[in-house]
Symmetry: C2
Subunit: 211 residues, 2 copies
DNA sequence: ACCCAACACCTACATTCATAGGTATTCAAC
DNA sequence: GTTGAATACCTATGAATGTAGGTGTTGGGT
């Protein structure tokens, strides 16, 4: 019964199916092909929401059937064409409804914290390697987020600039502020995970000394 | 090709399928029925790893077929019986192999941060409601984690005490320390999310004043 | 003796996600 | 003019997840 069709008037249901809303958010800025969307999901935005193209293309078709996006066959070279999707008024309504609804909180699945709770099963070196991988992972994320914030602050962010170009002047400060705010949260999280993992390395050292 | 069967000798593959290892971790302490495991997943551990019983029962059967757990028909009342699962030596090997392998980092899907980046689509009140829900959610988590840590520190944690009872004396300090360490990480994360959400509420207030 | 919550276990179904392939065109470089 | 990377789009399959139901037993309270 649920999830078949998401109407803008059903905020309870519209909190689900975030792939659709991630796509709508990206399309709210720019018309794009499925390939373009996939590339976005593979780079910057991909660290907040990721989807493989095998999920994107079918979802776009469904969204088209539901009327939240419309496709246009655009010539591509001499012979080819490509399908460029743009958001419709119904799509804007659906996005607005999703934004105005409160997200349900799904229960976590956090393999790393599960693992760390049972680290006595690992060799000290394996535990260290896991923690170092954790640090390396979040240091990579951190560098990206900080670069994004830098680009926002220096008005050199291609994504934000595209968005601001289609934003009425009076809302531009808000738009930029929210975008920065989202990245700040990701920076804080990455820093926190790095701190925690470093503490873990210290803990393992201390426990080994104690033997 | 992957994920069909997890052998202890294949560390690359064994990093996947964490439900299996969450179950093995719990069963490494105590023999339990599927119902018991489900209850654990619904309460304390459930905030690190959750699974509905409809996933647990079939997985236990598969694990039994793979030899990582063994079931025992235990009498239950006058007529009934129940299946109590205990970990096997092969299961301990598989758990150890998983613990010694490095987890691959899956790409995020973080609806809240995606949403916050596009908060200009929401009404200020809807954005505030979302942030308050975020705070309420993590305050609930925080209270639970802090209670767990308190129980560890006062040696009144039923879970940890069961675990220490099956742990050789020289490893007890390690076991307790790692368990505490895992919860500390969760506390830090919850605090960080609350801080971020509070900053968001302030940001929305500031932007509204600016109008 | 009966009721009911808790215990125990299970199936079915749809959706979502991950992985692995496939085809064909374009465009720039060699 | 051929090669190859990038663009563009797609299908198939299996695994994981979420949701919704189902059956029956037990054990404590009234």
């Amino acid at each position: 019964m649920r999830g078949q069709f998401v109407s803008a008037s059903d905020p309870e249901v519209s909190a689900l199916m975030s792939l659709r809303f991630a796509l709508l958010a990206l399309l709210s800025v720019d018309a794009m092909t499925g390939y373009d969307l996939h590339k976005r999901f593979d780079s910057s935005v991909g660290h907040v929401w990721y989807a493989p193209d095998s999920q994107i293309y079918p979802e776009l078709r469904k969204m088209e059937a539901d009327g939240v996006v419309a496709a246009e066959e655009v010539p591509w070279g001499p012979k080819g064409t490509k399908r460029e999707y743009h958001i419709t008024e119904a799509g804007r309504d659906a996005l607005r409804a999703w934004m105005n609804a409160t997200l349900p909180y799904a229960r976590f699945r956090d393999a790393m914290h599960l693992k760390s709770a049972y680290f006595e099963w690992a060799s000290p070196d394996a535990a260290r390697a896991q923690l170092r991988a954790h640090i390396a992972h979040y240091e990579g994320e951190l560098a990206q987020w900080e670069e994004q914030i830098h680009q926002i602050d220096t008005a050199t962010s291609p994504m934000l600039n595209r968005r601001l170009a289609v934003t009425p002047e009076k809302d531009r400060a808000r738009t930029a502020a929210f975008k920065r705010y989202a990245y700040e949260g990701l920076v804080l999280r990455a820093e926190q995970e790095i701190t925690w993992a470093r503490d873990g390395l210290k803990l393992i050292d201390d426990l080994e000394e104690g033997d």
